[in-house]
Symmetry: C2
């Protein structure tokens, strides 16, 4: 991609009302546009990051046998009333609207109810189970406050997955598989070491649910963590019983600020009973389906990655999610010879399948180009200029370490 | 994909309240689930069709230099008030909701206003223009009636594109390029011959807008078409002046039922002025940006393809959008030798990169398998059975023509 073609411009300042570091940097670097508090447009570079995270999640969910689909934003009032989750007194984040044809609709903040209801058409016998489905959904939540940038949106992308099983045994097998798949996702995104499977409050069917909490100064949670033992406990279940059960002393735990990047929850047969989702077992009896739900905050993860890896110069993307691996910065481009040379390097990188953003703008000063490249955060910067051409070398800078090396053309391609 | 793993089941009947042929077939074949009138979940097979159409559109939009992004569903009241499109008296399809933090928000039925407003951060000079952006957006429209299945949804996927240009000349260059790109999309989807660029009502800046109308019995429009001359006119502009201008006689035109699959519109400088999107020309003067908007109804296209190509047995997908190219139907699978043989064929097709849905279910009768395969509509059906194994041949049936051929393994792979 040529930077001269990319329509987004970097900005010196973010909007005055933007308090979060992640959104400030994402806005300044041209990844997102703030539509209103907690509501962000994803511009071309930002959309690429979101899609790359989605693809990592998709691969890991497919690998454990889950099937992708997409449910609807519009929600039926009567369905959510059946499970007592329509009332604003019970669920405080509904957006609701009048239907011109009469009646009221909700905008989806979660999807257990409609997906359990849909499954009535596809589950009749024990032979149909287990089933695992997931989606990347544009969720809407009517948050009273939204001051954490893309880490807590009123509109945000979530991967939500639902499991349908015959009973606790099959449920647990998938629940445990999902833990491993989730950790693979976070490892691939470069936050595996800082992400902890955290014991949190369970429900009627289970003592604990599990959150995936990532150490992050901008996180909204406090988690009690033993880094050595990889044990983490949410404040809400931090009590003597839990400590005893997990075989850990309170003194061994450190209270750290964390961001919840995922969670998994066991509904048992509660949803199946409420919604009326039953299967026939081998004896022909009607048994409520055992359900679980499994979330990953896709756009929240973008924010977490920015918060954790950015430095004073700007964003630093892990290679897995960077919109482009290389930021090729051309200098002295008003010299036709250098321009042709830089174009050749761009074409070579492109032909080798290396994703590259080419700063081909002749009218921008070198200092400004470098500052923009740092702000935008591609993992590698390669400079092509009159000087590097004369030396027959390329200047490769690692955005994370700041280390710069002079490489021959062959060394450069091998390195990338 | 193994059919035993696919969670969706085909159904003998669609919901009693479903009047549209497209939705009836899509529901019965397990592509969609009806959440409410005009609101459909896209199940795994349906999502694949939607994604394939999106990819065709994406490639053609990228080819004319447009950049993909994604805007938000939630809309600011004050922005739409500025262009006098907030009032329900002016725009009759808004979903609106209260914001818990105070005030009202809208749910997006179109995006000219927010995207023009966003562009203020990225357009300052004539040097920044032209810019073309597009998105695949889950649009919400509060339709009073929704009886056309996925062809007129209250929630639907639209590709909407917007052009930002210095003036009429640059605008027109892109407008004409988009016409060609649109026709390429429709040709690739197999409806090129039946899709007509149709003269429709223009606005303040232009005599006509253009619709892309596809001949379709289930369409909601009547279009006046000369097939020979590839001229088509919307009823609203069918008058003596138009006929004279286009050099066509009313008698040469045939009134046909059509579905609008796309439209392109010239806003001139109206939106730029209303929203306050100006650029500085070479003389340093502030000039309003010239805008156009360009839509393609992605999920509507799914409905149009079903309506146009289905036969009495079920759906027939054009190869470009079929979830799988081949439906491999295994018979006599309770015989271990045949089962192994069929598995080998599945693995071979898969290894050759041919997208295949393998009906590996041992317990389903052959007649039912064939009926399901016809209903689901993959372009090719390949039967593997005790009989075909003994003959050393494969039975390949073309879903469109119904023609069946016996082929050797090599012939089969070459054919596919």
């Amino acid at each position: 991609m040529r930077q001269s073609h990319l329509f987004t411009k970097t900005q010196k300042e973010a909007p005055a009302d933007e308090a979060a570091k992640n959104a400030t940097l994402l806005i300044r670097a041209g990844y997102v546009h703030k539509e209103m508090a907690g509501v962000y447009q994803w511009l071309p570079l930002g959309l690429k990051v979101v899609e790359k995270i989605k693809q990592v999640v998709r691969e890991e969910m497919n690998a454990i046998g889950a099937q992708e689909m997409i449910a609807t934003n519009l929600q039926r009032k009567e369905l959510w009333e059946r499970t007592n989750r329509w009332s604003d007194d019970v669920v405080d984040c509904w957006f609701k609207s009048e239907l011109k044809a009469g009646g009221e609709v909700g905008l989806a903040w979660s999807h257990e109810e409609p997906l359990a209801d849909m499954m009535k058409n596809h589950i009749t016998s024990y032979k149909d189970l287990p089933i695992f489905i997931y989606q990347f959904q544009n969720k809407l939540r009517n948050e009273l406050r939204a001051k954490s940038g893309v880490m807590r949106g009123r509109e945000f992308v979530m991967k939500d997955m639902y499991s349908f099983a015959q009973g606790e045994e099959d449920h647990t097998a998938f629940y445990e598989a999902s833990k491993i798949a989730y950790m693979k996702v976070f490892e691939r995104l470069g936050i595996g070491d800082d992400t902890f499977i955290t014991f949190a409050a369970g429900g009627a069917f289970t003592e604990f649910s599990h959150e995936f909490q990532t150490i992050c100064e901008a996180g909204e949670d406090i988690t009690y963590i033993s880094k050595d033992r990889k044990i983490a406990i949410n404040e809400e279940v931090l009590n003597d019983d839990t400590l005893k059960e997990l075989g850990v002393q309170k003194d061994d735990l450190e209270a750290v600020k964390t961001a919840e990047v995922g969670n998994i929850f066991n509904f048992g047969t509660q949803k199946g009973e409420e919604v009326g989702l039953f299967y026939k077992n081998e004896a022909g009896e009607d048994i409520p389906v055992w359900m679980g739900s499994y979330g990953i905050g896709v756009t929240r993860l973008v924010g977490v990655l920015v918060e954790k890896f950015a430095d004073e110069k700007g964003i630093i993307w892990p290679e897995t999610v960077a919109p482009y691996k290389v930021h090729l910065v051309g200098l002295n481009l008003d010299d036709k010879e250098i321009k042709d040379y830089a174009e050749g390097v761009y074409a070579s990188l492109d032909n080798k399948g290396i994703p590259v953003l080419f700063d081909d703008r002749a009218e921008v000063r070198p200092g400004e180009k470098f500052a923009e490249a740092d702000l935008m955060g591609m993992p590698y910067r390669v400079v092509v200029s009159k000087k590097t051409k004369e030396e027959g070398k390329f200047e490769l800078t690692n955005r994370t370490t700041g280390e710069t090396r002079l490489l021959s053309e062959e060394e450069l391609y091998n390195h990338l």
